[in-house]
Amino acid sequence: MSERSERTVMHSLDTVKHAEQTPDTQLPWAELGLKEDEYGRIREILGRRPTGAELAMYSVMWSEHCSYKSSKVHLKQFSEKAPQSDAMLVGIGEQAGVVDVGQGYAVTFKVESHNHPSYVEPHQGAATGIGGIVRDIIAMGARPVAVMDPLRFGAADHPDTRRVLPGVVSGIGGYGNCLGLPNIGGEVVFDSCYQGNPLVNALCVGVMRHEDIHLAKASGTGNKVVLYGARTGGDGIGGASILASETFDDTKPSKRPAVQVGDPFQEKLLIECTLEAFQERLVVGIQDLGAAGLSCATSELASNGSGGMRVELDSVPLRDSSLSPEEILMSESQERMCAVVEPEKVERFLAICEKWDVTATVIGEVTDGDRLGIFWHGEQIVDVPPRTVAHDGPVLQRPYARPDWQDALQADDPARLPRPADGDELRAAVLALVGSPNQADKSWITDQYDRYVLGDTVLAQPEDGGMIRIDAETGLGVALATDGNGRYAKLDPYAGAQLALAESYRNVATTGARPLAVTDCLNFGSPEDPAAMWQFAEACRGLADACRTLGTPVTGGNVSLYNQTGDVAVHPTPVVGVLGVIDDVARRTPMAFADEGHLVYLLGDTREELGGSAWSQVAHGHLGGRPPAVDLERERLLGEVLVAASRDGMADAAHDLSDGGLIQALTESCLKGGRGARIVVPDGMDPFVFLFSESQGRALVAIPRSEEVRFNDMCGARGLPATRIGVVDGDAVEVQGQFTIPLAELRRTHERTIPELLA
């Protein structure tokens, strides 16, 4: 409540006229998060002091969260270096990018963060994170078809993780399940660096026909602006600027902004009624209401359109009648959308809303001219060029510098760490690894998500990528994976971002889908800290370069800064989502080794690469050295082989190698299929390195004997190393000459960790 009382109360309505007459009135620009020069610019743009309502709009739209002021200069590279791709239908800049997947279908997908709100109120914070990203996807004209949730928490055994994790998971599940969107993948990572600042990222993917793409723009003078969905309340007023732009400091609960509560039922109705309106071609332009609420929706719609806009703020249906116009403009009440509709179609649009019990109101119209005018009880309280609010926010060139500890960190090579010396010690190390919280089975979490709803889920967790069928006749489908490794990125943010892309790309290819496009969520510390800013700049550079090499453009994403507790930032954590397409989902390659006698092949090269590895963390709590080498050409080649093997029916199962190395992947594939494997360490290879190294560009595949020759020939012809390392067999994982672990023991170790920590 303090938020409200701290707000400067305007005793009389601060109209545009009043602002002109009272140039010297002091406004609380600093409290609203604006810097002095920013306030100066607003005065310059308007040629007068802003009204309270205008100030509210500028402050929230010029916040870090909405304006990307610190990150813009770096994000540019994603467009500048973007590879030529015929698949891109809509690029960066819209709510979400749109990718052509063939047969007249287009797919839109995006990942977004809801980190800070999820620490304050895990359930609602995470729930509204799902709600927000789903609205982004609907606003492109697409039907949402699946969600994913890359998550990072503090130490698994920390008491606060017991508060945050179950809340986040129930929030994501509660909201996504109730919307009827299958959850097809994500991540769960524990690391004490995320203790006071969990990362809750959410991805949504939607499908539409090409002709249904909708954009957020208001054009056509006289067209009506319809606000529909939930009534507007005092939720998250100033949340966008205060909550997302400044370090959350839990020692001052009085600073806690109002938490938003999600209403997934309302959102489900919003989806259905929006899609019905699209189907009847009733919508000229559309925008979801997210951060910055109506300020954002009206200014962006108007700014992207051809004319201006006039809004009667009194028509906004309120949940709390005491809200001031400034508050209505800033409110972040969830489950609202804004559509631009031709006048003769308004009646039909409202009828569809009524059919779905959705409140809908005409709040304004598109005007000629180029001003956004907002009125309250007949008086004008906002008169701005919308572009200056929505797009011409400040751009900062924040100083950045490679931190002085980076060299020492990279010099601290894991080569010095003691290693398992014999078979028994290797065996113990394997059990410690697969039972460690990061490598353990995540079903306790993922069983709380509906992966079946909509009936088109072909692959879901724990598979390498989620896969959704989008056309039942032809079998056309898409696959998605999200990955990020903050430990690698801490050691080298440039390489770390590329490794995130490489892994995600590899995961998608492993399922048999051809990687097409990228979305990313960049979770970093304070941009005011030159070290964090350097990490951010390096990660952007790395990701943009890698996307160019792999031919997968970034279509959109999200930046989350200020992820830190006090002075301590989280590991730089670029999370990368890759979207792939598969012509016939019946050809997918699952991960399970389910067939006795199939040959196990290792694709790729194994070197001694343990910097940032899961083994170094589990066995020694160590983070140092250099991350595994990036070889994007190799990733591309591996991807081609995996896609070809799927298409030509050569591989019955495949699983990519990532953190935890070969033994982790082998364990997962064997447990999923309920079959053991006998493995031989290749000649001249150190067994420990063979099992635990995290060299990139590798995958395990299970090949029926009848396909061996063909498969080998293909790998040989393409120049991809393929080593036969064993056979699917029995009910134990046996590394010959080293150790044997019965599947039952492996399963127990792998599956009990998370329930024991959280139950």
């Binding site: 399940n177 069983d447 992966r451 079946y452 009936g455 072909v458 069928r469």
Partner: protein, 243 residues
């Protein structure tokens, strides 16, 4: 049980005969309505979309109340849906013998409507659970289970937050004695359901409610098995037999 696992296009729309029109009700918040329609189609029937606000059920021969979160399941699961206009007709027709299947949320609606006894309560572990669940068919004589054999075990997805079946001891005893327990969980009881009950029927055997989702086990590509299809083929056969 063998099923075409192909694309799930329109396998048999109508099939010509007047029989086999199975309505699927959409309440606001229904989620698995399209999946139920697909299952009916794959079973050779004609799915007919029914709308919660309409009293008219378009001369269907049977009705499925699908899974989901009708009205957000905010008060209690199924509590608000029960009062919708369509349910007035469904209750009336069910009492006259029309086959009605309530899946998950639909089961909850049937209990709230008093077409079936008992109630469904919060899972005992307090979490939503989505998993492939092993079940035993206990009664293969209902309108929806005729294609199974008694004692047959099947695996279909289960996904819910409030799936624990409760009723008074007296009611439970009566359900057992009258053979009205249609399905039981095998292996771990996923939600604390009394006597491992996963599904029940009314006295006449035309109304069946179950928590698991047979409509998500009709295609090998998207379900754990195709062992759920039998519910829909059973209904279609029972319609033919009754005509």
């Amino acid at each position: 049980m063998s099923v075409g696992t192909g694309a799930g296009g329109d396998a048999g729309t109508g099939g010509g005969s007047g029989l086999g029109r199975i309505g699927v009700v959409t309440f606001p918040g229904s989620l698995d309505d399209r999946d139920a329609q697909r299952a009916i189609r794959l079973a050779g029937g004609e799915p007919v979309a029914l709308w919660h606000r309409d009293k008219d059920i378009r001369q269907v021969d049977a009705v499925v109340l699908p899974g989901g979160f009708s009205y957000g399941d905010y008060l209690r699961c199924g509590a608000i849906a029960r009062f919708s206009p369509v349910m007035g007709t469904v209750v009336e027709q069910a009492r006259l013998g029309m086959p009605v299947l309530g899946i998950c949320n639909g089961f909850q609606v049937l209990c709230e409507s008093h077409l079936l006894p008992g109630a469904l309560t919060r899972n005992d572990h307090l979490h939503f659970v989505c998993r492939d669940q092993r079940l035993r068919i206990e009664n293969a004589n209902t309108a929806w289970t005729g294609d199974y054999t008694e004692g047959q075990e099947i695996t279909v997805p289960l996904k819910n937050n409030e799936g624990g079946f409760v009723a008074s001891e007296h009611t439970l005893d009566a359900l057992e004695a009258e053979g009205r327990v249609v399905l039981r969980y095998v292996g771990r009881n996923p939600n604390g359901s009394r006597r491992d009950i996963a599904g029940i029927t009314n006295e006449a055997g035309n109304v069946v409610g179950l928590m698991p989702h047979p409509e998500h086990a009709v295609e090998a590509l998207t379900g754990p098995t195709t062992e759920g299809l039998g519910f829909f083929t059973s209904a279609l056969k029972s319609l033919v037999a009754a005509s």
